[in-house]
Symmetry: C2
Subunit: 214 residues, 2 copies
């Protein structure tokens, strides 16, 4: 009652979203009931529908929140890596190691990616939600592509590969690594895969041994 944050406009809404995200990642969207969410948050059904018109709007808010947070984490890591090395390749390699460490330091197996979860429920969502997820992946691609382009200005590609594909592969390894971790019940598998992607980047860009050529 005397709590100050009680009237905070986002508090209850955020609590619902937090509970919903955990539940959706563990049980899928349609496996998550509104009743269990309101029970966990401690509100009434009316309270829920005050914040979200229906379950689809919850999904949309969930994705918007996830994409935003995820983007901040990724750009935060890249920014931090940039302070540690001027070299674009080394900076990227540092960022990948930090990402791997982030996954490694999780208390349990990675809870999952909302975007991936949505992709496996596509028919349940409207066009807007699917547009959001697609856009999110393209934003991630663009972020990484920018890094790769900067690298190519100082390093040669050892083989002919498409840089968009190479950029996409980070998301691919993350999503695939999460599934692998979940499937075998070994949380270390995700950071391991991320480090393998890092090895790929090293192999693709690093100079051809120490031998001075030409």
């Amino acid at each position: 009652m005397a709590e100050k944050l009680a009237n905070s406009p986002s508090s209850t809404r955020q609590q619902i979203l937090r509970a919903a995200e955990a539940a959706v990642l563990a049980k899928g969207f349609s496996g998550t009931s509104i009743d269990e969410l309101i029970a966990e948050v401690g509100i009434s059904k009316s309270g829920f529908f005050y914040h979200f018109r229906d379950k689809a709007m919850l999904a949309q808010a969930l994705i918007e929140r996830y994409v935003e947070e995820d983007g901040e984490i990724l750009s935060g890591i890249f920014a931090e890596a940039d302070t540690l090395s001027e070299d674009p390749l080394h900076s990227f390699l540092i960022a990948l190691k930090m990402l791997a460490k982030l996954f490694e330091d999780l208390p349990a197996t990675h809870p999952g990616c909302i975007v991936a979860s949505v992709c496996y429920h596509e028919q349940l969502f409207d066009r807007e939600v699917r547009r959001l997820t697609g856009e999110a992946v393209l934003i991630w691609r663009a972020m990484i592509r920018t890094r790769l382009d900067r690298i190519t200005q100082q390093y040669q590609l050892r083989i002919d590969i498409d840089l968009d594909d190479l950029a996409d592969m980070l998301s691919v390894v993350a999503d695939g690594g999460i599934i692998l971790s979940k499937a075998v019940g070994d949380k270390s598998r995700l950071p391991r895969q991320m480090l393998l992607y890092r090895d790929f980047i090293r192999l693709v860009f690093e100079p051809r041994a120490t031998a001075a050529e030409r």
Copy 2:
């Protein structure tokens, strides 16, 4: 006693499984209603529960079927690749190209992987189902690991990497590639990622350029 007849003992069951697989991949497990399955197959609810004790048993049958079929496809590709090259590395590279072509030739975006779908619904399933999915991934790993081990007998690893991780990466790229394809609505993204994995294999194993060293 009852021999497998051309009639309906397995036919109806298979029809249910086929419809269920498509529906689960598109809408998730709990998003798939029994009513829609029986409507599509054209049987009654009693007919469904004659074949499956409950929805959980449908899930189990779905996974067993998927894992079996998937294993056959993969080992089929490897066997065919072996007839095309004696060299273990080249055979593996051929197999990866065939796998990429398989994905490329699909009429639409890859429908999805049941194992991945299950991983994003873990809390809905019992221990047996989760054991099955984990085992499936380990079988795939073992299949590929065998290939990689054979390669290492004739080729040197250019960098120090764990072969189990490298083997896992095929599943990772497949699952992640499927999600990428679905997210951006571009079916070509999955085969592209598979070819990128192939490039990684090439880089990791192929001899250090043509320069004879030492």
